[in-house]
Amino acid sequence: MEFLDYVTRNLDRIVSELLRHIHIIAIAVPISIGIGAPIGIAIANHKNLAKVVIYIASVMMTIPSLALFGVMVVLLAPFGAGLGIPPAVIALVVYSMLPIIRNVVVAIRAVDPEMIEAARGMGMTKAQVLFKVRLPLSVPIIMAGIRNAAVMGIAVTTIAYLVGARGLGYFIFSGLSRARLDMILVGAILVSAMGIGTNYGLMKLEQFLTPRGVRLERQENR
């Protein structure tokens, strides 16, 4: 079989592009959380501001990825960073803003206001209310946003091959230009598997991070 043949002969390359792909996402996702979560927390209780910010984030998400990469290549060129990992990571962060900010806002708002009032009434400071009540209760929804961002990032990173970031996009784009089905197949299978795997892994992580009492409550309501 041509396909298996290709895999065995190029195992080193496959592994290295796969690691590269993971590498890019492993940089981009924490940065996205680091930027998106504080923004979400800061705007959650300001209705109009939240509307505007979420609108901007959703506009950013509609930018076609090729166009975004094009713009970045030009903008980052003066800093010598127009190609490779920087544009890829930045694009991922841009696209992650909507799912992360939106879910943080939704999650924080979903906490029962009476419960927040009870917390304040007992003498918690604003920060204590956030860290002891709002965030622990928000874990499932926030994690869903992060999952969303990561899975989408896997697809976007594939395209980042075009700006020299390497990664699994290599097999797909080279395969396309050379009309090599075996290469395309390797890329497609790996990207899909990674998406499914990441989704599953983050779901498990979400379960692990969700406070036990909240998990029990969800089971109860099912």
Partner: protein, 375 residues
């Protein structure tokens, strides 16, 4: 600690007057009830005390100090706050829920543990089973007990409670109320309790404040509210069969007479000796206590006057029914009806006579109660 409201006023927005120049004092160590129709300003009044809502004007004085002189966080940590069960944190165990304020106050962990166990015991929750459960694993009544325990955790002088038993079914609510009365007898806090249930108000309240459209309509001791409603509004709130109702809710505990006459029975005590003692008073009967000061029964003056003076008194002692302090006045009343006694002695768990409930006093207390009234 007493809480004084001085011309307390809250206006929402331009013109919604939620609380309208209210003057009243919640007395130290008493349960004061805030009651009135929906939207009359009960919750607003309560939340102005712990500054969850800032007042528009007027003042609130706790223990002689305006609440503004105390930092808001410190103020809240020093006041217990209990709302409906929804206020429990679902992601925390029962233990952690109760421990919230002590932890905010940075108590050492062993002291917290001791306190939590003490409170579980007080609330009749099993200290082996319950502390590590989550709220979702508890019944409504248990959740509410945890809520009360959480409010009491840091041993505050003041407890604010906003319809704490409102979401509980009637049978369990009764149980919680009974438990709550007993708890208050032990802890003696100054409690401000919001309810819209007049039965609950009469049962729990030492004092009742009745609100209507932001105004304080009447603020009096519970019995005074029942007997002398300030106006038609209060009368309607109490309902038509209020006499019977309140007799069912008011406890012997709060209303027995400590003015009674008792003789101590010894083997040698004769009718003559007893009569001499009784004649010093103008009593028509006397209770008789045994050597352990437990109630043995009673003697009627008229009867023993006819008896042989050298008889041992013991021969003439008649047994009597008695009633427990936690029983209702209605129970006392029906005991009188069935036994034909015009007074029943109040005897506590240890067998001591604490006082007596008299028919005449009940009649006075409940005035024109129609005892045949329907329900």
């Amino acid at each position: 600690m007493a809480i004084e409201l001085k011309k307390l006023r809250k206006v929402y927005g331009e013109s919604t007057v939620a609380v309208d120049d209210v003057d009243l004092t919640f007395e130290d160590k008493k349960i004061s009830i805030l009651i009135g129709p929906s939207g009359c300003g009960k919750t607003t009044t309560l939340k102005m005390i712990n500054r969850l809502i800032e007042r528009t004007s007027g003042d609130i004085i706790i223990d002689g100090r305006s609440i503004d002189e105390i930092g808001v966080i410190e103020l809240r940590r020093s006041i217990g706050y209990v709302i409906q069960e929804i206020g429990l944190f679902p992601h925390m165990t029962v233990f952690d829920n109760i421990a919230v304020v002590p932890r905010l106050l940075k108590w050492p962990e062993d002291k917290i543990k001791k306190r939590v166990m003490e409170l579980l015991d007080l609330m009749n929750l099993d200290p082996d089973e319950h502390p590590y459960k989550y709220p979702v694993q508890l019944s409504g009544g248990q959740k509410q007990r945890v809520g009360v325990a959480r409010g009491l955790a840091a041993d505050p002088e003041i407890l604010l409670m906003d319809e704490p038993f409102g979401a509980i079914d009637p049978i369990n609510r009764e149980k919680l109320q009974d438990a709550f009365i007993e708890i208050q007898e032990q802890i003696n806090k100054t409690i401000v309790f919001v309810t819209h249930d007049i039965r609950e108000a009469i049962k729990l309240g030492d004092n009742i404040a009745i609100f209507n459209e932001g105004k304080l309509v009447q603020y009096d001791e519970t019995m005074t509210v029942i007997n002398e409603p300030a106006d038609d509004f209060v009368e309607n709130l109490l309902g038509s069969d209020r006499g019977l109702r309140s007799m069912e809710l008011v406890r012997v505990h709060d209303h027995y007479d400590t003015d009674f006459f008792a003789l101590e029975l010894t083997e040698k005590l004769t009718v003559g000796d007893a009569l001499k003692e009784i004649e010093k008073t103008d009593r028509r009967y006397a209770y008789v206590l045994n050597e352990k000061k437990r109630l043995a029964g009673y003697v009627v003056r008229k009867k023993i006057e006819k008896a042989n003076k050298s008889d041992p008194l013991k021969k003439h002692v008649k047994e009597t029914e008695s009633i427990h302090p936690s029983s209702s006045l209605l129970e006392a009343m029906s005991l009188m009806m069935t036994s034909g006694l015009s007074a029943v002695p109040v005897v506590d768990d240890r067998g001591r006579v604490r006082g007596v409930v008299r028919f005449s006093a009940l009649m006075e207390m409940f005035g024109s109660v129609d005892l045949t009234g329907s329900d």
